[in-house]
């Protein structure tokens, strides 16, 4: 009853745009928080297949409220989906408390009860995280203990269930997750190595899950599944290296897309390697990844793609922010397995040189690619262990999932004008998650020009022009945007995306969208009206489909 009252009060305050009062009396107690709400009113637009839902209006809102005093902190997140925005993952409905926790730490011991997020190593074995934009939230609900028993030694243990649904409040999945992580900083551990040029940290993790969700009559399911691995991070001068290997025991899932991969009992493995070098004006990063059968959830039944994930499938590709490159064909790691490589080079031609001119040049080159592993499929009649196939580390097949070669050039021309140019070449296969209209190998080229003209101290205009050429899927796209900012408070923008190359003439549509915003201190108000095309929204290789829409969108964010 008290929680409901608290929530109702918070929700009322949230919708009126006001915020909780922050209190800080000489470090005695601090209440802080942030708030966000996005409200969208829908128009029907049959041309772009945008439906007008019966409820006409969707609203996603949340507010984090945290209390801190000394070594103690606690907080809640109030969430509201009335109704959820179109395209938001299912499983978000109503209003209530979606997250609550209490934490205290003392003398090297840190205890959290309730909900928490965390990550072991790169996240392959455990990454508990949330993205409200994506509609991902796999928060743990249980207990987490961190302990620092000796200098340089960091231990972590956790147990709990994962958030699965939000239905007027938090609904956890039935699966149990247990994890241990230890990390040793060699340089902190040994005094003699404190000032060594070589910095080394080693770590190891063990995570197991228990669930008996899957009652298939066809297979004997493992109820307890373990995953474990180790990692090392080194730095020597300008060089750095990170490597992590994770092994996952038999963990079969149904695969509704390809029955051949359904209920694979083969152990999974993931190897992630990174070698980097950086100095002033130049850096290079080389990454390699081998992942096989590393889908890792706290349930073994079919759920939505981002539900109940324990492990994270890292993507070795650039997350593009420009609209055509970022939302039409973004790469999503293939959960069945892939071998991927990426090289990222940044170079700054120094300023005040013959080539660099007064301000220098920023040049970036990024090459990323992913292939299916070479799989030797076993004879089903003798494969009594249902291993299904065998693979070898970094033995890739000729089946390319994805390739992205992009080069960017940034140049400040003078005090008022900045220019960015970018060219991208994509080869994209979406067998794992259908992104295009049809499954096919897509070849695309994208060119981008981005100019910023600073008219005066408070006034600036940004022009952005993009074009995509492809003979597959929906054909060529054009994009144009003009954004005017009157700092520090106002901005207004208009953009158009035009699918002029669509092979279906009636689908050669303009997606015109106007946006305006007002910023005051920690508060930001934005209003947008127009068409938004269907696309894919990604964060760190995790994506969700966004349907086409037409209407008015209002959003507000604030913090205190």
């Amino acid at each position: 009853m008290n929680l409901k009252l608290l929530f109702n009060t918070a929700l009322l305050v949230s919708f009126t745009g006001q915020v909780f009062f922050a209190q800080n009396n000489n470090n005695e107690a601090v209440i802080s928080g942030n708030f966000s709400s996005t409200v969208q009113y829908y128009n029907e637009d049959s041309l772009i297949n945008a439906a007008e839902p019966d409820h006409k209006l969707g609203a996603n809102s949340f507010a984090n409220i945290n209390f801190n005093k000394g070594n103690f902190s606690a907080g809640v997140r109030l969430e509201s989906y009335l109704n959820p925005l179109e395209g938001y993952p299912i499983g978000f409905n109503g209003s209530g408390i979606g997250y609550r926790y209490a934490n205290w730490n003392n003398d090297g011991l840190d205890v959290t009860v309730g909900n928490f997020y965390d990550q072991f190593g790169s996240g392959m074995i455990l990454r508990i995280w949330e993205s409200r934009q994506l509609g991902i939230d796999n928060a743990m609900d249980g207990l987490k203990v961190k302990y620092n028993p000796y200098k340089g030694v960091y231990l972590k243990g956790l147990i709990g269930k994962q958030r699965y649904r939000f239905d007027d409040g938090l609904k956890n999945g039935d699966g149990l997750v247990r994890g241990l992580d230890g990390e040793v900083n060699i340089n902190e551990l040994f005094d003699s190595l404190n000032n060594s040029k070589l910095k080394v940290t080693i770590g190891g993790s063990f995570v197991s899950k228990f669930n008996d969700d899957n009652n298939t009559a066809d297979y004997i399911m493992p109820k307890n599944v373990g995953s474990y691995g180790g990692r090392i991070a080194m730095r020597y001068g300008k060089f750095r290296f990170f490597g992590e290997y994770i092994y996952k025991e038999n963990d079969p899932y149904p695969d509704l897309v390809d029955p051949e991969f359904s209920y694979v009992y083969k152990n999974g493995e993931g190897l992630l390697l990174n070698l980097g070098y950086s100095q002033k004006g130049f850096s290079v990063d080389i990454n390699a990844k081998h992942m096989d059968n590393m889908l890792w959830r706290s349930t073994n039944v079919t759920v939505q793609p981002t539900d109940l994930l324990i492990g994270y499938l890292p993507t070795l590709s650039t997350q593009h922010t420009y609209a055509l490159a970022g939302t039409l064909y973004p790469y999503v790691p293939n959960p069945r397995g892939e071998i991927a490589f990426q090289t990222d080079i940044l170079y700054k031609i120094p300023k005040k040189t013959k080539i660099g001119g007064k301000y220098g040049w920023d040049i970036g080159l990024n090459i990323a690619t992913a292939y299916a592993p070479e799989r030797e499929f076993l004879d089903p009649s003798t494969d009594t262990g249902r291993q299904v196939y065998s693979t070898q580390l970094f033995n890739l097949s000729d089946s390319m999932f994805f390739r992205d070669i992009n080069i960017s050039i940034g140049k400040k021309i003078n005090k008022k004008l900045k220019l960015k140019l970018k060219y991208l070449n994509f080869v994209f296969d979406d067998r794992a998650i259908l992104v295009a209209k049809n499954h096919e190998l897509i070849y695309a080229d994208i060119a981008i020009a981005d100019f910023t003209w600073k008219i005066s101290t408070h006034h600036s205009v940004r022009f952005e022009v993009q074009n995509m050429w492809t003979k597959q899927d929906q054909g060529n796209w054009g994009f144009g945007q003009i954004e005017y900012s009157y700092s520090p408070h106002w901005f207004v923008a208009i953009l158009d995306q035009y699918n002029y190359g669509n092979p279906i003439e009636t689908q050669q549509i303009h997606y015109l969208l106007g946006t305006a915003g007002y910023i005051k201190g920690p508060h930001r108000f934005t209003v947008a009206y127009g068409r938004q095309r269907a696309g894919v929204f990604c964060v760190g290789g995790v994506c969700r489909q966004v349907p086409a829409s037409n209407g008015l969108t209002f959003s507000i964010t604030s913090s205190f």
Partner: protein, 301 residues
């Protein structure tokens, strides 16, 4: 510090050992197998065979000796068959079939020949291949001079002809026998060695290695304790086997068959002691009956 590491290691070991590793996850739904013969209710624990590469290169020969316990010339033919078998180091497999089209020499006859050694399989084979005479035999069921039937005097030459052939198939056999249920689980791997075209079956038959029983000799002599050798006793597969190829099959193809069989109790007939039993398995052409490859697997423990 040390205590921390030790505790951590112990905890990791405990957690690690708590993982469920499922070796045979597929719930067996093969209705051709009688899982009541497997003593453990959990069929996932069944020890399925792990096949290794079959390195055999020899063409083996099945010599079927069609015989009868009142056929006075049959013991001499049996000696010839045994001699050929012994002379070829396991590449010739003898199977004594108590059968003929008329069945006169095989009928029980009191008081001296009370037992009936006939089998459904033997009777079917005799009729199909028109085995009207005893003793007579087939060599890999190949037709010679228009007949399957060959006199024992010709067996040696015919066997040599067959031994010189290049095999088109290889067979491996593995089994598990559970005395509690008298259950025999038989597993067969057939490998195609050369591209073949046609309709092929795999046949598994139970033989008793030695059956001590009555036999009539020339001049009406009655031998009460005659050692009948490798006597066809029952069919484990269907009489004509299980189809494995219908059409074309390429070299390297491997085919698998599994059977369960209730072994007759040795309590009432000691000749069914598991140590006296073998399984003869062969691949045959369904249209011509020709045996393409054969092996014999003793069930002795």
């Amino acid at each position: 510090m040390k205590i921390t590491i030790i505790c951590l290691a112990l905890l990791a070991i405990i957690l690690h050992s708590s993982c469920d590793r499922v070796e045979n996850p597929v719930v067996v739904r093969d209705t051709s197998l009688d899982w009541t013969l497997y003593p453990d209710a959990d069929t996932s624990t069944y020890p399925w065979p792990t096949w290794t590469q079959n390195t055999n290169t020899a063409q083996r020969v099945l010599l079927e000796d069609y015989t009868g316990h009142t056929c006075t010339n049959c013991p001499a033919a049996a000696v010839e068959a045994k001699n050929i078998e012994d002379a070829n180091g396991g590449n010739v497999i003898v199977m004594s079939v108590h059968a003929s089209v008329g069945g006169g020499f095989q009928q029980p006859s009191l008081p001296d020949y009370p037992l009936d050694h006939r089998t459904d399989a033997g009777n079917a084979y005799a009729i199909a291949m028109n085995m009207t005479l005893n003793p007579s035999g087939t060599i890999n069921r190949v037709i010679t001079n228009g007949e399957y039937s060959a006199f024992s005097s010709d067996w040696s030459n015919l066997v040599n002809t067959q031994l010189a052939r290049t095999p088109d198939f290889n067979i491996q056999c593995a089994f598990n026998y559970y005395p509690q249920t008298n259950g025999l689980f038989l597993h067969l791997e057939t490998e195609v060695l050369n591209d073949v075209q046609g309709t092929y079956d795999i046949v598994s038959l139970l033989v008793r290695d030695t059956l001590v029983a009555d036999q009539e000799f020339p001049q009406g002599l009655h031998e009460e304790e005659y050692d009948h050798h490798s006597v066809l006793t029952d069919n484990i597969s269907d009489i004509w086997g299980s189809p494995i190829i219908n059409g074309q099959s390429t070299a390297g193809t491997k085919l698998y068959n599994n059977y369960t069989y209730v072994v007759p109790s040795s309590d009432t007939d000691s000749s069914y002691n598991i140590n006296n039993l073998s399984v003869i398995t062969f691949v045959s052409d369904r249209d011509t009956y020709e045996v393409k490859q054969v092996i014999k697997t003793p069930l002795s423990e």
